[in-house]
């Protein structure tokens, strides 16, 4: 049975946003109506603006990445559902400082449609918009044109971080968009869950697993994965995430990557460190260098117990953008 600290499930996201703004008043400002999170202080110079958004329940994504060096605005929908076109439109207008706006979109039908509408709404007023569609989740890979395509998950972080850095340095909208697309093309993710999550206010998890089962290929909405595999040690489980990602990206000896070991919500830091160690040992053996890494709960699925592993093919330019200063609630260096 799952229980949460919650008042009215209908007001949960808004109350959380209020609490989030109170926690980081020096970093963010919550626009209440329509609802979006913007930087507390606009950038000093006009720059390409970055706007991301999507369903809530994935915190710290995206509001936790609003701040200098990363996003200009984050637009949270209801739990696990797209923000509205009006929210996205308002955030896009607010974020624009005259050099255009990049929409960073995780590939879900609703998100894609509402971001598209927002772009259309603002372009009527001459605001230039480009989009980067992030579709990294291998579990939903399928031949082109046979469905909505791979879901977008943790690779969005790398896109937001690197594009944020490039924008901060004055890159043009087209340059930032091209960079984002290149990163998204070179990023893949695979996830597994040891326990599902429960919606705020609901006590039942969205699926049940037997004591010897692990859900492989889960997304970040409590939906079922693509297969059930036997439970085992970290050393037995982690290769089932790393190997397909390495293969899908065609990584070979000598390649460099940025690696994200992401906790889906209830997985403890000790476990995440153990999973990262297994990841590092596997890649070491394959002769693949982890140039940079991020280990923690960055893209969650409420209180799901599980991890996702994201690899992004890296080059000197990407690493340099990754290392550029960032100052947000969830990422600061």
């Amino acid at each position: 049975m799952r229980r949460q600290f919650i008042n009215d499930p209908q007001e949960h996201v808004r109350e959380a946003l209020d609490g989030f703004e109170r926690t980081y008043p020096h970093l963010v400002r919550w626009n209440r109506e329509p609802s979006y999170v913007a930087r507390a202080t606009p950038p000093a110079q006009p720059k390409v603006a970055l706007v991301a958004g999507g369903g809530s329940g994935h915190e710290p994504l995206h509001a936790g990445f609003v701040g200098s060096g990363m996003l200009d605005a984050a637009v949270p929908g209801a739990i696990f559902s797209s923000p509205t076109a009006i929210q996205l439109e308002a955030a896009t207008r607010a974020a624009d400082s005259g050099r255009g706006v990049l929409h960073v979109i995780k590939n879900y039908t609703g998100d894609v449609m509402n971001f598209g509408i927002a772009a259309e709404l603002v372009s009527a007023d001459g605001i230039e918009v480009e989009r980067v569609l992030v579709a990294d989740d291998l579990a939903t890979d399928a031949p082109e044109g046979t469905g909505p395509g791979r879901r977008g998950t943790a690779a969005v972080l790398v896109v937001e971080k690197a594009c944020g850095a490039a924008a901060e340095r004055g890159a043009s909208l087209q340059e930032v968009a091209a960079l984002g697309r290149r990163i998204a093309d070179n990023a893949r993710t695979m996830a597994m869950a040891l326990a599902s999550c429960a919606h705020p206010g609901e006590s039942e998890p969205s699926f049940e697993l037997g004591p010897d089962e692990v859900e492989l290929g889960v997304g970040i909405h409590g939906e079922r994965g693509v297969a059930r595999v036997p439970f085992g040690t970290a050393a037995q489980l982690v290769p089932q995430l790393v190997d397909p990602v390495v293969e899908a990206l065609g990584l070979t000896r000598g390649d460099e990557v940025i690696a994200i070991v992401n906790g889906l919500g209830a997985t403890h830091p000790l476990e995440l460190s153990v999973v990262f160690r297994e990841t590092a040992l596997l890649l070491e053996e394959a002769g693949i260098t982890i140039a940079r890494q991020l280990v923690g709960p960055y893209v969650t699925a409420l209180d799901m117990a599980g991890v996702s592993i994201t690899l992004v093919r890296a080059d000197a330019e990407l690493v340099e953008l990754w290392d550029a200063p960032v100052r947000t609630a969830a990422l600061t260096w």
Binding site: T84, T109, M113
Partner: protein, 213 residues
């Protein structure tokens, strides 16, 4: 009103008000259809839009026929789900096509509906036969275009559009959804009418002079 072949601001407002009223009355039944063929949230999505529409309409100036459609557009765009933003963009094209005109004729209405449906198809990627709102939007638009070409009067044209939309909606029962949440249930939803298409029929049936006839 529409008697002189033109839709003026008052008529447009009456149309929108009537639609809001009937859609609200039907939302339980529409939600039930989505429960049987989709993910069940159509009714609450619709309610959200309509509640907001009432608020928006309360501060209308009544200056143009475009205005109530623009306000309806905002209300629907403020809503989640798939239907909200698509209806929102559809209504937006109506208001944009009407522009600043104090009254619009059948040609403008036909052009507006065609533009709106094209936008819905571009954004949603659905074509006729996919068991979506497009199955009602497209025939309604075709009926308006045909009436305009034939030189029909506006009230007649609207009646034809309403009949076409209703027929299109009814026809979705036999289809298997290939877009939206309903596409995940597949064969199970055969025999169930698409709620999004029914709502389009309700819209045209709410037009001035249609249900009165």
């Amino acid at each position: 009103m529409v008697s002189d072949g033109l839709l003026d601001a008052a008529a447009a407002r009456a149309w929108v008000d009537a639609f809001v009223g009937v859609a609200d009355a039907e939302r339980g039944a529409l939600g039930e259809l989505d429960r049987r063929s989709g993910d069940g949230d159509f009714g609450s999505n619709l309610q959200t839009s309509l509640t907001r529409a009432r608020v928006e309409l309360a501060s209308a100036t009544g200056a143009t026929p475009a205005e109530p459609f623009a306000l309806l557009s905002t209300a629907f765009l403020n809503t989640g789900g798939t239907s909200g933003p698509l209806y929102g963009m559809w209504f937006r094209e109506l208001s944009r096509t009407f522009g600043e005109a104090e009254a619009v004729g059948l040609d403008a209405l036909a052009a507006a509906v065609a533009a709106g449906t094209a936008t819905v198809q571009r954004l949603g990627g659905a074509t006729v036969g996919d068991k979506t709102m497009v199955d009602a939007l497209a025939p309604a638009g075709d009926a308006l275009a045909a009436a305009a070409a034939a030189g029909d009067a506006l009230p007649e044209a609207l009646r034809a559009a309403a009949l076409a939309a209703r027929a299109g909606a009814e026809g979705t029962a036999e289809l298997v959804a290939r877009r939206g949440r309903a596409s995940y249930v597949g064969e199970v939803a055969r025999g169930v009418i698409d709620p999004g298409a029914v709502t389009v029929a309700l819209f045209f049936e709410a037009a001035p002079g249609v249900s009165a006839s």
